[in-house]
Every structure is written in structure tokens, then in C-alpha cells.
């Protein structure tokens, strides 16, 4: 296969051609999936007669050995993991491509292509898992599926059409990379944007089904659709889930890309390869961290809407039998905060001049650690009878103050501010600003940090002296203070460091190897967290398929115990990473083959210049 070339910006970039056989194979898989989906759509009961026939069908069938619930759970979680990845990564891939296009930096174009390549490899797996999930619903939960179809049938067509549009746009985006380069690059970037729009539309359609199961709307007493399907789509939790999942997908995509880069870094044979994947890992972590900072706010919005829909459901989630999940969640998120900062601190070692900022590490670590401890403090503690008597109940008179939302909101906001400070220090590690107003700028930045921290702590403490309904509103002020500080600091930082004197080039590829395991840890932790929180969201329906409407009368109607759920999620996470590892390995295999033919693998050298940081 001859090597093709493209002119991307001011650098010449070479990229291998793609065998037509691969394209054909993927096209066949896609057609198989679409055919299956259309067949299922065609045979779905839509009229009264078929509905009556469906009523004679058993409500449930038993999946061999594992049981139906476990089968659906595992496949749905795997499907969601892959879908989150292929929907999340293109969002920042197109942004990175646009940066490369506008700045003429070819390495951004390479990175964007590398990211899309990863999602591409996961595309067929996502579709196959989706088809498998559909089979499971149709085969093992026919009554449930018939009911969902009676509500959402029109959306199935929309979903299928969007899937077609998304697939072909992504295909064109990926395979047209060389073709639509140079003066036609804007068309290519436009395709990336379009594929993201289609992808997001797919997400919101699928979310309408899931959220309807949690917070049904637009139906009458018998559960039948009252008016149009829009009322069922626009239920209480639909928009919060859309926002929460969209942001979480970006975080997830960032961590997986970081893990991929780490995998390639650790197996790199040359310094150039190490430098490239070190840079890619940094970008992956940066993206994940940027989106992760706003994720708690989206989660809080979702929680509020769940409470607003149904108080019982809200209490089950936060105070009832799901409450212990939040302690596990706090520990995992604490690990994510600590891990992300740790990676940045390790990364500063490869930046000459960063020594000036090392003194900030211990105080930042102390804030993160104390914040982590407070966030993980349970309200109702695991105590022996003696301990309970010594404490005067299951609530500790001192530590109990850390168990409520006032304390937790306060520390999570301080942890976000600290993480942002880490990033700011990293960003300026090898720069010395030369602007005349540096002192003033720095003073305003520190004042912004202090003011935000002050507002956060003030409302955190004040929250203990007001009733709950007022306290809930304080979290909004805390969030706004943090976001305002972030915006203000960056608004000063960018012009202040423009044209700054450099203290040396970033030595990409020289980061300590154990930093790469941190990237892998972050990806695994986030995947596990997604599964766990997915269980919480789904589990609060308890013995209902559709909350309050369609009861679960199967043998699996009992909500699983937390230990069992954690085990299932662990196994699914392991399965997901085994599949992802296989895909990573395939990616490397393809390049090795290409290298044999062409004499070298990916040609774009990333990094090496001090002004090349994101």
C-alpha cells in the first residue's frame, strides 16, 4: 500500500493508508447491526392484535446460568462504557483538530487523528454490544420491552436514523482526513462537529428511555401515553442526565486516552515515541481534569431533580440503603483528585524552572488530604455498641459535623480550587512573565483564590446555622465563587504569560514511569465509579422497571446488596479493560505492520518545544 501524504498546516504529515479490507469489514458489521435493528423494529408489536399476542408471551424468560438481570446489567454496563468512550472522545478530538488547524501545529492534527482512531476501533464493539443488549431485552424482558415500545416507538426511528448519520459522518471524518486537508480542512473540522452533534443527539435519545424508567412522565394512571411522546422524553431527570453524562463522557474519554498513552509510553522503544505519548497522556489528563472539575455540579443538579421528582427516591439514594455508596464514591473521587494532582506534580519534574513551585506541593497536598478525609466521613458511622454509647448515638458529636453536605460541599470546592492551582502552577512552570503589570496581576489572582476560598468556607460554616432548605441554596454560591475565580485567574494568566521568557524546554518523555500507572489508575477508577454510580441511579428504582408504573415481578426483583453490586461492577470493569487492552494492542499491531511496509510508524513528533503545551 503506498504511503499517502497530506499537508496539514505548516508541517508535512505522513499517514498510512487504510486497507480497503478493513473498511469493508467494518461496513459489513455496521450493515449487520443496522439490519438487525431494522428487523427488530419491523417485528415490534404496534397494533392491537400484535399487542394482544404479546400479552400471551411470558413476561420474563431466564437467561441460562447467570440469570437475566445479571446478563442485562453486565452487557448494558459494557455497552455504556464503550458508548461513553466513542461519544466523549470525538468532542475533544474535534477541538484539538481545530486547534491544529488554526495554529498550524501538525502534532495537534496527529493527536486528533490518533484519538479518532481509538474511537473507531471501539465503534463496532459498541454497536455489537448495543445489538446484544437489544436482544436481551426483547428475549428476556418481553413485557417490559413491549411497554417501552408503546411509549417510545417513534424515537426508535429517530435513533436508528441518527445512528446511520453518526456512523457515516464519523467514517467520512476518519477516512477523509487526508482528502479533506489543506484548504478543505474547514470541511473536515465541520464533519467532526457534525459527528459530535449526531453523537450527542443519540445520547439524549437513549437517555430519554433510561430516565423515563426512573422518573416517568406524560402518562396516565394506567401507564399509557397521554399525549405526545415529548412529555415522556422531557421527564424530570432527562436534562440533568444529559448534562451529567455529556460531561462524564468527556472525563471518561480523557482518562481512557490518558491510559492508552500510558500503555504506549510504557511500551515505547524510542525517545521520540515516549515524548509523543507523554504529551498525549498529559493532554488526556488535562481534558479529563478540566471536565471533572465541573462534574460534581452536574451531579448535584441531577440529585436535586431526583429529590424534586420523588422524595422517597431521593432519600433512598442519599440517606437510605444507597447512602453507603456515596462513601465509596467519595473515596474514589478523592483518589481521582489526588491522582490527577500527583500526575501534574510528577509532570513538573520534566519542566526546567518548575523547582520554584515545589514548595507549594506540601500545602496543596494537605488541603487535598484533609478535604478527602472530610468528604469520606460517613454521617452515620459503622460503630460497635460501646463506640455508639461513647458517642451518644451513631453520630459522632465532633466528626458528625463532617458528615453533612455543608462540610462536603465546602471541601469539594476547596479541592477543586487546589487542583486548579496545581494546573496554574504547572502551566507557568517554565515561564517568567515580562509584562509590566505582573505584580498587580499576580496579586489579583491570589486575591481571587483567597476570596473564592473565603466564600466557600463562609457558606460552609454558615450552613450549620440555617435550616436545610436555605442551606441547599448555599451550594450555588460556593460553586459560583469557585467558577468565577477560575475564570478570573485564567483571564489574567493568559495575557500575563503571553510572550513570557522561558526557563527551558519541556523535556517530554522524561516523566517518571510511575506517573503512567497513575494515568491507568485514573482510568480504572473512573470506569469503576461510573459503574457504581450507574448502579445507584438504576437501583433506586428498586422493584420497579418503570418507577411506580411497571413493577418488576421477576425472580430478580430484589435490589442487589452493595457488596454484590460492587463485585459485578468490578468484573465488568475488568472485562471492559480486557477488551480495551485488546483494542490498544490491535492499534499497536497495525502500526507495526505499517512500519514494516513504510519503514517507520507515526511520524509526527509531539512536544520538544516549550511553547507547545496546551
Amino acid at each position: 500500500m503506498p504511503r499517502r501524504s497530506c499537508d496539514c498546516g505548516n508541517k508535512r504529515v505522513f499517514r498510512e493508508g487504510f486497507p480497503i479490507v478493513t473498511f469493508a469489514r467494518r461496513a459489513v458489521w455496521l450493515l449487520v447491526f443496522c439490519g438487525v435493528a431494522l428487523t427488530v423494529l419491523a417485528v415490534l408489536p404496534v397494533d392491537a392484535q400484535t399487542a394482544q399476542n404479546a400479552a400471551k408471551e411470558p413476561a420474563y424468560r431466564a437467561f441460562p446460568v447467570f440469570g437475566s438481570r445479571l446478563a442485562v446489567w453486565a452487557v448494558a454496563q459494557l455497552h455504556l462504557n464503550f458508548a461513553a468512550f466513542i461519544l466523549g472522545v470525538p468532542i475533544f478530538a474535534v477541538i484539538i483538530e481545530a486547534i491544529g488547524w488554526r495554529t498550524g501545529e501538525a502534532r495537534y492534527d496527529w493527536l486528533s487523528h490518533e484519538l479518532v482512531k481509538l474511537t473507531f476501533a471501539a465503534f463496532s464493539t459498541t454497536a455489537l454490544l448495543g445489538a446484544f443488549l437489544l436482544f436481551l431485552f426483547v428475549g428476556y424482558y418481553p413485557k417490559f420491552w413491549t411497554y417501552m415500545t408503546s411509549i417510545f416507538f417513534p424515537t426508535y426511528w429517530v435513533y436508528a436514523l441518527l445512528f446511520f448519520a453518526e456512523t457515516f459522518t464519523v467514517y467520512l471524518w476518519y477516512y477523509g482526513w487526508n482528502w479533506l486537508s489543506g484548504s478543505r480542512k474547514w470541511i473536515h473540522v465541520g464533519l467532526g462537529v457534525l459527528s459530535n452533534l449526531f453523537g450527542t443527539a443519540i445520547l439524549v435519545v437513549a437517555n430519554s428511555w433510561v430516565t423515563f424508567m426512573m422518573s416517568p412522565a406524560g402518562i396516565d394512571e394506567s401507564g399509557a401515553l397521554k399525549g405526545g411522546v415529548w412529555a415522556a422524553i422531557n421527564n424530570y431527570t432527562w436534562m440533568p442526565i444529559n448534562i451529567h453524562r455529556l460531561i462524564a463522557n468527556i472525563v471518561f474519554g480523557g482518562t481512557i486516552c490518558g491510559a492508552y498513552a500510558a500503555f504506549r509510553f510504557l511500551g515505547a522503544q524510542t525517545q521520540e515515541e515516549r515524548a509523543r505519548y507523554d504529551w498525549m497522556g498529559y493532554i488526556g489528563n488535562f481534558i479529563a481534569l478540566s471536565a471533572f472539575i465541573v462534574l460534581p455540579f452536574a451531579g448535584y443538579y441531577l440529585g436535586r431533580e431526583i429529590y424534586a421528582f420523588n422524595q422517597t427516591m431521593g432519600i433512598t439514594m442519599m440517606g437510605g440503603f444507597m447512602s453507603w455508596l456515596w462513601i465509596i464514591q467519595a473515596i474514589l473521587i478523592g483518589v481521582l483528585f489526588l491522582g490527577s494532582n500527583y500526575y501534574l506534580w510528577l509532570g513538573m519534574e520534566r519542566i526546567p524552572g518548575s523547582e520554584r513551585y515545589r514548595k507549594y506541593v506540601p500545602p496543596m497536598l494537605i488541603i487535598l488530604t484533609v478535604g478527602f478525609m472530610i468528604w469520606a466521613t460517613p454521617r452515620s458511622m459503622v460503630v460497635t455498641l460501646d463506640e455508639a454509647r461513647a458517642m451518644g448515638g451513631t453520630h459522632h458529636p465532633l466528626l458528625g459535623f463532617f458528615g453533612v453536605m455543608s462540610a462536603k460541599n465546602t471541601v469539594v470546592n476547596l479541592m477543586i480550587l487546589t487542583t486548579f492551582l496545581s494546573f496554574v502552577l504547572y502551566r507557568r512552570a517554565n515561564k517568567i512573565p515580562t509584562k509590566s503589570w505582573v505584580k498587580t496581576g499576580m496579586a489579583i489572582q491570589w486575591a481571587a483564590f483567597a476570596a473564592a476560598a473565603g466564600v466557600v468556607v463562609f457558606y460552609g460554616v454558615y450552613g450549620y446555622f440555617v435550616e436545610s432548605i436555605i442551606r441547599i441554596g448555599f451550594s450555588v454560591y460556593q460553586v459560583l465563587a469557585v467558577l468565577a475565580a477560575i475564570v478570573l485567574v485564567m483571564a489574567i494568566d493568559i495575557p500575563m504569560f503571553k510572550g513570557a521568557r522561558t526557563t527551558g524546554q519541556i523535556r517530554w518523555g522524561t516523566i517518571a514511569p510511575h506517573s503512567q500507572y497513575v494515568l491507568i489508575l485514573l482510568a480504572v477508577t473512573f470506569t469503576w465509579l461510573m459503574g457504581l454510580m450507574g448502579f445507584a441511579r438504576s437501583g433506586i428504582r428498586q422493584h420497579w422497571h418503570v418507577y411506580g408504573v411497571l413493577r418488576d415481578s421477576s425472580v430478580d426483583a430484589a435490589t442487589p446488596a452493595l457488596g454484590y453490586a460492587a463485585n459485578v461492577i468490578t468484573v465488568v470493569t475488568l472485562a471492559f479493560f480486557a477488551l480495551v487492552l485488546f483494542i490498544f494492542w490491535l492499534g499497536g499491531l497495525g502500526e507495526r505492520g505499517a512500519a514494516e511496509v513504510h519503514g517507520h510508524a507515526a511520524p509526527v513528533i509531539a512536544g520538544g518545544r516549550d511553547d507547545m503545551r496546551a
Partner: protein
């Protein structure tokens, strides 16, 4: 002072200091489960601290490395080989040995209330329900006073005359009766929630998170609806807590 610059020693000192402060500096003592959690987090942070740059990491593993390989450290190695398994064994023994009391359990903070209950053959909506007696502000004191009588007659034996869960019978119960003085109990809840808990007691708790181990009797057969609302008013008044209010519905369009 040179010794103190060793990262290894610093790490050990931080861990020891953290243990001493958390174990002996908090009164009443922090439960063992929380102490373990805190120490695990601090251990993680210490590992981040010692490994966040190469020099620090070298300084940290230096003493470990020399202890493991240097011939002159042989006596220390032998001592560690004996002491570490003994400590682990002792810890395993303390965890596995039978104790005269029940092991600690995970407990849910608040049981989730049902949307509605049957109260004396009447459908009673929990969600959104307000205390009807609060509408008549002129009779507030009267209701609180009657609530106090009801409390002294029925509740004081377990929940105590200070409403702190330390009544006469309290030592016999595990878990102990609810402490209403704790800002984490009734102050976090709407009055309707309390109505449900008092009316239905332990037997009316939801099936989720069972066993609840609650000996709270259902009071619906002994107290009238008005009496239950009165005793609720007394609980809030006597403890100085405010009941949680319902949020106004913001989603009428849904």
C-alpha cells in the same frame, strides 16, 4: 537535624503523629472504622508526598534499600522478619477473636419513607404533608404543652428526659434510641417524616436495608393523629430545632 531531612523518617513521623492525634486527640474517640479510613487516606497522601519527585523518592527508599541489602543491617533485618509477622498476626487475632458484643454494622442514615401510608383506615400522604396544627399560631404553646405530656408519658423511657436518646431503657438497645438533640436527626427531616416514623414504628420500616433492629413501637393504635402532630411539635420546640420544609414544586410543567 540531618536525620529529620530523611523522607523515610518524615513519612514514619507523619503517620505516627496522625495516628496519635486521631486516636487520642478526638473526644469521644473516633470509631475504629473511621480511624482506619482516615489513616488509609493519610497513608496514600504520604506516599504521594514522598514520591512526587525523584530526589524525594530516592531519599525515601534509601533506608529501606540499605536495610534489605547491606550486610551490616542483618540484625535489623532479622528483627523485622520476626516483629512484622508478629504484629500482623496480632492484628489478625484482634480482628478474628470472638468479642462479647455484636460486630458493627453498616446502617442507613434515614429509611426512605413511602409516598403514603394507611393511618387508621385513612390514606395519609407523606410527601408534601404539613403539620396542620401549626396553622393556628395562637394554640402553638398549648399543642407543645400537650405534646410534652404525651412525650413524658410514652417516649421518655427510651429517648430520655433530655431528648438525647439516653432514657432508662436505652442501655438495653442496640442501636441506641434516636438522639433528638443531634442536629443530624430531626432537624434534617420534615415533620411528615416524623409522623410516619411515630405512627408506624419499627414494624413499618421499609424492606430495604433490613434488618433495621428497631424496637420503636407503632403508635398509631395508641395516639391520635392530633397527638402525634403535638408530640412532633414538642420535639422540635424542646430541642430548639426547626423542621425541614418542603421545597416548592418547580416542575409544574412536567
Amino acid at each position: 537535624m540531618r536525620l529529620l531531612r530523611s523522607r523515610f523518617l518524615q513519612a514514619v513521623l507523619i503517620l505516627v503523629l496522625a495516628f496519635v492525634i486521631l486516636r487520642f486527640g478526638i473526644r469521644p474517640p473516633a470509631p475504629w472504622s473511621v480511624l482506619t479510613l482516615y489513616l488509609a487516606i493519610i497513608f496514600m497522601a504520604v506516599m504521594v508526598f514522598v514520591s512526587s519527585d525523584r530526589d524525594s523518592w530516592r531519599s525515601f527508599i534509601g533506608p529501606i534499600w540499605t536495610t534489605l541489602v547491606r550486610p551490616e543491617r542483618r540484625p535489623l533485618r532479622i528483627a523485622l522478619v520476626i516483629v512484622i509477622p508478629l504484629l500482623v498476626g496480632y492484628y489478625a487475632y484482634t480482628q478474628a477473636a470472638a468479642k462479647p458484643q455484636a460486630p458493627p454494622e453498616l446502617r442507613a442514615v434515614h429509611p426512605a419513607p413511602p409516598a403514603s401510608i394507611q393511618f387508621r383506615n385513612k390514606e395519609f400522604n407523606i410527601s408534601g404533608a404539613e403539620n396542620p396544627l401549626r396553622k393556628d399560631a395562637a394554640k402553638f404553646r398549648e399543642h407543645v404543652s400537650k405534646g410534652g405530656e404525651i412525650y413524658i408519658r410514652n417516649c421518655v423511657y427510651c429517648h430520655g428526659d433530655n431528648l438525647d436518646g439516653k432514657g432508662h431503657f436505652a442501655p438495653g438497645f442496640n442501636p441506641p434510641p434516636a438522639n433528638f438533640q443531634d442536629p443530624g436527626t430531626i432537624a434534617m427531616l420534615q415533620e411528615a417524616f416524623l409522623f410516619w416514623r411515630i405512627a408506624k414504628g419499627g414494624p413499618g420500616l421499609p424492606k430495604e436495608s433490613t434488618p433495621w433492629n428497631s424496637v420503636m413501637p407503632p403508635w398509631e393504635d395508641r395516639l391520635t393523629e392530633e397527638q402525634i402532630w403535638q408530640v412532633i411539635m414538642y420535639l422540635y420546640d424542646a430541642t430548639g430545632q426547626q423542621p425541614r420544609r418542603w421545597e416548592a414544586s418547580e416542575h409544574a410543567s412536567h
